[in-house]
Amino acid sequence: MSIRRRIVTVVAAFATFAIAVMIWAPTVGSTPISLARAFDRSIPWDDNVDAQIFFVARLPRVLAGGLVGATLAAAGVVLQALLRNPLATPFTLGVSAGASLGAMLAVTMRLEMTVLGITSIPLASFAGSLVATAIVYALASSQRRGLSTNVLLLAGVTLNAFFSALILFVQYLADFAEALRAIRWMMGGLDVGSYFPIVAALPFVLISFVAFAMMTRTLNLLSVGTEAAAARGVEIVRAQRLAFMSASLATGAAVSLGGPIGFIGIIVPHLVRLIVGSDHRIVLPASALFGAAFLVLCDLAARTLMSPIEIPVGVVTALIGGPFFLWLLVKRS
C-alpha cells in the first residue's frame, strides 16, 4: 500500500469514529431524544422538544468537547515532537497556568464584561495564556540565536510553578464563593451554553491547525534529531518557533473554552502511536480526531454517570487517564 493510501485510510477510519461519536453523544442524556424527531423540519421549533434539547442543550457542548479534545491532543503531539519528549503535554510550557491565572483574576476582580457574547473568564484566560506564551518565548530565545528547547522546558516548568503560587495567593485573598467558582473553572467544563464561544475560539484553532498540517514531516525529522533534521533541509529555528507558537495559541484557545482539562494531550497521542506508529502525518490528524471523540465520551460520562449531579469533565479525564497511563507504562516496560 502506498504511503498516501495508508495515511488516507487510517485518518478516514479515525474520522469515521469521531463523527459517529459526535452524532451519537447528543442523543444520550437524562432525557432520551430521537434523532429523527430532532431533525424533523415539519414539527414547529417551539413544539419540538427533541430539537431544542439536541440543538440548544447538547450539540454546543458536544462541539465544544470535540474542538477542545482535538486541539489538546494535537497540541500535545506537536509539543512532544518539538521538545523531543514523550512526556510533554500542552500544559508543559505554562500556557494553562497563565490561562488559569487570567481566569482567577477575572473572577476575583469581578470583571463582568462581554465581547461578542464571550464573557470575561474566557477572555481573561486567553489573555493569560498569551502572556505566559510570550514570557516563555522571550526567556527561551534570549540566550542565543534560535530557540533552546531545554530553556523552553525549564522556563515552562518554572512558570507553571510560579503561576500556580500566584493562583493560590489570589485564591487565598478571594472570598469563598469567588474561590469556589474559580476552582470549578479549573476542573474543566464544556457546558459553554451557546455556539458563540465555539465560533470565537475556532479561528485561532484553525490557524494553528493549518500550521500543524504544514509541519508534520518536519516533526518526524525533529523526532530523529535536531542536527540531522537541519542536515536534511529543515530550518530548525523557524520550525521550532512555528511549532511552539501554533501549539500555544491553539492550547490557549482550547483552555479558554473548556478550562485546563488534563491528560487528553498525553494519553491520546500515546494511544494513537501504539495503534498507528510514529509517523506524524498519521499521528497528528488521528490524535486530533481521537482526542475529539475521547473528550466527548468523557463529557458524556461526566453528565450521565451521577446524573443529575455533573462531574467536572477534567476530573473524569484524570480519573480515566491516570490509571490508563500507568497501565500503559507498566505494560510497555
Binding site: R4, A81, A213, L221, V224, A231, V234, E235, G277, R281
Partner: protein, 276 residues
Amino acid sequence: MCALLWADNVSFRYAAGAPLVVDGVTVRLTDGALAGILGPNGSGKTTLLRLLSGTRRPTSGRVLLGERPLDQLSRREAARQIAVVPQETELAFEYRAIEIVLMGRHPHLGVFTVEGPDDIRIAHEALAATGTSHVAERMFHELSGGEKQRIVIAAALAQSAHLLLLDEPTASLDLGYQLEISSLLLWLNQEQGVTMAISTHDLNLAASICRELILMRDGRVLAAGPTADVLTPENVMRLYDVEADVRINSETGHMTVVPVRLAAPKRNREGGRISR
C-alpha cells in the same frame, strides 16, 4: 582542480565571547575525494563538519559549494547536495528502519507532498547499498549498532546528495562493524562516486580508506594532504602528544599506527593515594 566544497579561512564560536572552536581553517574537498578529519577530542572536528554542511554559519570566513556561497542556499537546496551522518542518532519516538531512510527524501518533497514510487525506489536502493534490505521493516531501536549505523548512512544516501559528511561513523561500533562500515564507505566513494569527509578518532580507519587527511588540534589545521605524507610519527606526536609507530602493514598494504607511549602526561596526577 576545482574544489567541490571549500571552507575558506572559516572560524566559529558557539556564542559571543566564547572561545573559537574552529579557528581560521581552510579545507578543500575536490570531486570524488575521500578525506579524513583527525584530531583529539574537542579539536573542532564536529563543528567543522557542521560548517561544511551549512547547518552552522561561520563567524568569519565563508564556505563555497561549487561556485556559490553555502549560506546563500536555503537549507533544502543545501540538503539536496550535502548529506550528513551525525555522530549519534537518538530517536524521541519509535520508527521502522524504512521510515528513517525515507526521511532522507525530505529536501526533495514539497510541504504537502507524500513520498511517491520514485522516492520509495531510491530508499530501497539505499537500503540495498548498505546491505540492510532485510531489516527495512524492523523497528530501528531493535537493530544492532552496526545495522543502526548502516540505516543512518542509508538515510543520508536516500538524500541523493553527491557529498557525504560523516561524524565519527565507527565510534560506537565493535571491530567487525568498524570494518563493515569502512568497506561500505570505500565502496560508496569508489563505485558510487560519493565525495566524502569523515571525522574520526580511528587513525587506522583513516589510514586504510582515506586518500587525504586533515589534522586538527585546538580548532586549527596542523597538517593536510595525502595520507602517506601527513600520517607521520611527528604529526601523530603533534596531534595527540603520543609517540607512535607508523608503518605499512604487509598484509593490508595500508599504513598502521601503533601508539607506543604518552610523550607528556596529559593530566597531572597529584600522586595521592586512593583510600579504600
